[in-house]
């Protein structure tokens, strides 16, 4: 009984925290952060407890909707699916979240809207945990939308800044486009399988496939659209770089480590069904490959420290999506999800540390030589950089190469996208690292930068240890046991290391000496292939025009008919008024004419 309550405490404690902060948080900063950290800590303890305890926990579910008619039950429950996938995910999410909560105390110390920020973070943690434990599609969708709104609140934290306000709106709207597909997919799968429980999905998916394979494929591709939105895959990736308008800890927790990975997590959840549909897997694979490659290209030419990391996140999410589509088990992608959560979170927290040190300057071409001013940040950023680039023995090496090995085994051309992206990844991350920490200081802020307070450095330290070690087999397998392919040719490893070396070398040659401005300029990459401009045009010219036409038609055509109708009535009344001449002879004439008319009508029958 006691144990059954623990998952509920895990899920609800951040929600309670959010409500408490909403009502009492305005009183003091200490109270806001105290409640937030306490609730996140409680969830953390529950998650570690459940995971270390292992085994099955029977948790009573809550009937959100439960109705039986004609013997058919329709039940949407809020319940828990605690298994080998969700338990380690819970641990990762709560750990990263807890560290970011602590880091935020330092980062947000001088900012306004402190309580609003912590309430938003608590709401986010609640919704994210809901996605992780969700036992059915509808519950996942419900929390899926909720992470969307917490993301909206947090991106729009500096809501008086136009760019932040627009970014928040864009993030929510683009996600809604993805959710449109997600919901339709859920409806389709529900209608033809009669279930949306993840446990029943595999068996029922088999039934649909046997009946009509394209039906399952359609459903899955629609559901995948949800991932495309949430995990910022091409072509719905545009919101993620703009979401960097939020405070840096938010970018680190939501838009790097956990929330955006929810899309991949969902694919892992439905993997048993997904693996039944080769066409859906092919779609997933290509979307992942294109995203991973394009985002890396865009990342090579960005100048904002957070935006570079944002494109890197998109690209890494692309790897995970490829991982889902090529491996025989979802654990491969989830392994990369875990390692990425740690090292990308670390990178963002380091970037935050740099930004605070630089008095909120984010342009890397105003930085430089920070390795002397911020030595601890320098070392930890280095660890993050190596992990992202996939230098052995850092964690990224193990998980990313595993995905590419599987892609090679499967023999898909997407492998080459992934492999070339290794070179690009190494290039852009070392570019950032060299420009920020080496070379001459490029501005006054860089000359007077200071190391961040301990409350920020401590979470970074823990994350650097994790980023270094979590890939090692005997530690990583503690979290998850990814399936390794058999017979990986040795030269494949050399190819991958080769790509890495090329990227690093080029970055070293170009940036290590400390150029004052970027020696290479590629407008297409810098302008993100003009995809954002295309969307702006689409929204403004096409959607805006269409809306305008609808409003016009409504005002002048639909309502015009009403006006014409009322005009006819008025005209009729006007004619009748003309007849009322107030003259007795005229009325006698009408009377007589009327009688004649009636007689005529009666007799003519």
């Amino acid at each position: 009984m006691m144990i059954a309550a623990i998952p509920w405490i895990l899920l609800l404690s951040p929600l309670v925290g959010c409500v408490l902060i909403l009502f009492f948080g305005r009183a003091s900063k200490l109270l806001s952060s105290g409640i937030g950290i306490f609730c996140a800590g409680l969830s953390l303890l529950c998650a570690w407890f459940l995971w270390l305890k292992g085994g099955v926990v029977e948790v009573p579910s809550f009937p959100w909707v439960d109705y039986t008619s004609f013997g058919k039950q329709f039940r949407i429950s809020i319940g828990f699916l605690l298994d080998d996938l969700s338990l380690p995910m819970l641990v990762v999410v709560t750990t990263v979240a807890f560290l970011v909560f602590i880091y935020s105390v330092g980062y947000m110390a001088q900012e306004e809207g402190y309580w609003r920020y912590f309430a938003g973070l608590c709401l986010f943690l609640f919704s994210m945990l809901g996605i992780v434990v969700a036992e059915n599609f509808v519950m996942m969708f419900l929390f899926w939308e909720l992470v969307g709104v917490s993301s909206y609140i947090l991106i729009g934290h500096y809501f008086r800044r136009d760019s932040a306000a627009d970014a928040a709106k864009q993030a929510f709207t683009v996600n809604r486009v993805g959710d449109f597909g997600f919901l339709l997919g859920i409806l389709l799968i529900w209608l033809y399988s009669g279930t949306f429980s993840f446990n029943d999905l595999k068996g029922k998916a088999q039934v649909i496939t046997d009946a009509a394979p394209w039906l399952l494929t359609t459903g899955l591709v629609l559901v995948f659209l949800g991932t495309v939105g949430k995990s910022a895959q091409f072509p719905l990736h545009v919101w993620l770089p703009n979401s960097m308008e939020g405070p840096t800890p938010v970018s680190s927790l939501l838009h790097a480590a956990t929330m955006v990975a929810a899309g991949v997590y969902m694919l892992a959840r439905i993997f048993p069904a997904l693996s039944l549909s080769p066409i859906a897997l092919e779609v997933v694979s290509w979307v992942g490959g294109i995203t991973c490659f394009l985002a890396a290209l865009m990342g090579t030419q960005q100048n904002d420290i957070k935006r570079i990391l944002a494109y890197s996140t998109i690209s890494q999410l692309g790897y995970m999506v490829i991982g889902i589509s090529v491996a025989t088990a979802s654990t491969v992608a989830v392994f990369h999800l875990f390692t990425h959560a740690f090292f990308k979170c670390l990178l963002f927290l380091c970037a935050g540390s740099v930004i605070v040190g630089m008095h909120h300057e984010q342009d890397i071409w105003k930085m430089g030589s920070l390795k002397n001013k911020m030595p601890l940040t320098f070392i930890m950023m280095g660890i993050g950089t190596f992990a992202l680039a996939g230098v052995p023995p850092f964690s990224g090496y193990f998980s990313k190469d595993l995905i590419l090995e599987w892609a090679w085994i499967k023999g898909t051309p997407v492998f080459w996208f992934g492999a070339i992206t290794i070179a690009l990844t190494t290039f852009y991350i070392f570019r950032l690292f060299f420009v920020v920490f080496l070379g001459p200081p490029r501005s006054d802020e860089a000359k007077h930068a200071q190391e961040s307070p301990r409350v920020m450095l401590l979470p970074m330290l823990i994350l650097s240890i994790l980023s270094l070690t979590v890939g090692w087999p005997f530690i990583g397998h503690f979290f998850i046991q990814p399936v390794h392919p058999e017979h990986v040719p040795l030269f494949l490893r050399f190819i991958l290391i080769g790509f890495l070396a090329v990227g690093a070398l080029v970055a070293y040659l170009l940036y290590a000496k400390g150029p004052l401005k970027d020696p290479i300029q590629v407008a297409v990459f810098e302008n993100r292939f003009y995809i954002d401009n295309f969307y702006d045009w689409l929204v403004k010219e096409i959607q805006g025009r269409f809306a305008g036409i609808c409003a016009f038609v409504d005002r002048w055509v639909v309502d015009g008919f009403v006006k014409i109708a009322s005009g006819c009535v008025w005209l009729f009344g006007f004619c009748l008024r003309m007849l009322q001449v107030g003259n007795i002879q005229a009325y006698a004439f009408y009377f007589g004419a009327g009688i004649l008319l009636i007689f005529f009508l009666l007799l003519s029958k």
């Binding site: 008086r160 449109f180 409806l187 959607q543 609808c550």
Partner: protein
């Protein structure tokens, strides 16, 4: 005597007191609106303790007016009417507590407002079609007056337009109701809603098609079914906020209530037969009006249009409520998902639009304009306003946790499944377009929020003392609405237990 009579009398008495003593009218209004809410909430609690499921009619009461003609005034409350009455009393409370006082003729203003409230409560408490209709008319007439007298903008023209439009719709509806009545054999003549349904099911009531058409168009036009919706946006934009809250939030649900209570169970075949036509009209509401909403550049117009658009989801629930049995044979069953979803959406939309109209009224009182281009940054200057506006916006665009989401989700499930197993059938396509409507409403809802509450405050408001935040009582009243929306959002099952049996019982 049923306690529902006391509820209606309380509202009418408050109204009379307000008319008679304008000086204390505002205080009377505060008292009356609080009392009626407390009274109804206690009635609801007793009801919940005493009643097993929502199908049972409680607090029943009959006044045999002309028994030989079957004209009986019947009051009573089952699960469905309980929820509508809850909506009515909540919104009445907020319409008094959360709106600014009128600038002139306070007594007449509140007297009219309570007359609307009495009409609304009376209509939803009626078990009898004729009085259901008459109470609605009682509420409608002060509505016209109030738009004309205390409205803003082009109020006279709009008031006339609404009057003529809705009076015509009511007239059409009345013909339909009389059509039902005269088609009954003389011995069993009645206006009782449940009796009519029973008579129709047993084959005693045989009606020609025109009765259905009249009833459907009458009810439909009152709920702004496309293309009979053009009265709505302007009326809501010009009406004083309390009237917009009561009309868009509650009174408009009259038509939907009638469709669910009367038209659907009496005309299952016709609903099925004209289902496709209805689906196309609904897409007009959701898709066409949805995009027209997006083009609005004023908050009040945008809210007015959005309220027309959201009616489409409820219509979708109604259109998909009659499902032919898979075995064929011309028999139908009621789809509990669509019905429950439609019922919850009626409540949810009422609450969310009332929140938004209350806030837009407060904003207009402070800024004298609702042009988006002249607003901005209110989240900073008026934090409580910004927070509540956010709640209202997210409720109205269907965020999980708010009632609107549960309703929309159930309607989608109900509508998607009601066309049978054939892939890409008409119901599935309509549902898909309706789901796209959720994206559309997110776009305009967040845009409106961004333009009013986010960004920099325009120059003219900087340093001015006009932008004071909401007062305690206004916040309190709006928070009550928010809490009820959250309650339904978090626990729709509790409401479905009342709604679905009541809707299936007929």
């Amino acid at each position: 005597m049923s306690p529902l009579v006391f509820l209606i009398l309380l509202l009418i008495l408050t109204s009379i007191f307000c008319y008679l003593s304008p000086a204390s009218a505002r205080r009377t209004a505060f008292m009356g609106s609080a009392l009626q809410l407390i009274l109804f909430l206690s009635l609801l609690l007793i009801y919940l303790f005493r009643v097993e499921d929502g199908a049972e009619v409680f607090y029943g009461w009959k006044w045999e007016l002309l028994p030989e003609l079957g004209v009986v005034m019947g009051l009573g409350m089952d699960g469905f009417s309980a929820i509508m009455l809850l909506l009515a009393t909540l919104v009445t409370f907020a319409a008094v507590w959360a709106t600014p006082a009128p600038e002139r003729s306070v007594g007449f203003y509140y007297g009219n407002l309570f007359l609307i409230a009495a009409g609304v409560v009376g209509a939803f408490a009626s078990t009898d079609l004729l009085f259901f209709y008459l109470f609605h008319e009682l509420a409608l007439i002060p509505t016209f007056l109030m738009i004309g007298i205390w409205g803003t903008g082009d109020k006279h023209r709009v008031a006339w337009k609404v009057t003529i439009y809705l009076a015509l719709a009511s007239f059409v509806l009345l013909i339909g109701i009389l059509g039902l009545y005269i088609n009954l054999p003389e011995i069993s003549r009645t206006f009782g809603m449940r009796e009519l349904v029973d008579l129709a099911n047993s084959g005693v009531l045989q009606t020609p098609d025109w009765v259905f058409v009249m009833l459907f168009l009458g009810f439909g036009a009152l709920v702004s079914l496309f293309p009979f919706h053009t009265w709505a946006p302007g009326a809501y934009a010009c009406a004083p906020s309390s009237v917009a809250m009561l009309h868009a939030g509650v009174l408009k649900k009259f038509g939907l209530y009638g469709l669910l209570r009367v038209v659907l169970p009496i005309f299952p075949h016709e609903m099925q037969e004209y289902g496709h036509v209805l689906l196309i009209l609904i897409l007009g509401n959701i898709f066409f009006v949805g995009y027209a909403t997006m083009a609005q550049r004023r908050l009040d117009w945008m809210l007015g249009y959005s309220s027309v658009m959201h009616m489409g989801y409820i219509f979708l629930g109604i259109a998909s409520a009659m499902v032919p049995f898979a075995g064929g044979g011309g028999s139908y069953y009621l789809n509990p998902l669509s019905l429950g979803g439609a019922g919850i959406l009626m409540f949810a939309h009422g609450i969310s639009i009332a929140i938004l109209f209350a806030l837009s009224g407060q904003l207009r009182r402070r800024t004298a304009t609702l042009e988006f281009s002249e607003l901005g940054g209110m989240g900073k200057t008026m934090p409580a306003f910004g927070l509540l506006m956010g709640m209202g916006t997210f409720a109205s665009i269907g965020l999980p946790g708010f009632a609107n989401f549960s309703g929309e989700l159930l309607v989608f499930f109900g509508a998607f499944g009601s066309g049978g197993a054939q892939f890409l059938n008409f119901y599935q396509i309509a549902t898909a377009i309706a789901v796209w409507g959720v994206v559309v409403s997110a776009i305009y809802g967040l845009r409106a929020y961004r333009w009013t509450c986010f960004g920099e405050t325009p120059e003219r408001w900087v340093g001015s003392n006009e932008l004071v935040d909401l007062r305690g009582r206004e916040k309190f009243a709006i928070w009550i609405l928010v809490v009820f929306s959250l309650l339904v959002g978090f626990w729709p099952q509790g409401f479905l237990k009342l709604l679905i049996p009541a809707l299936l019982a007929q």
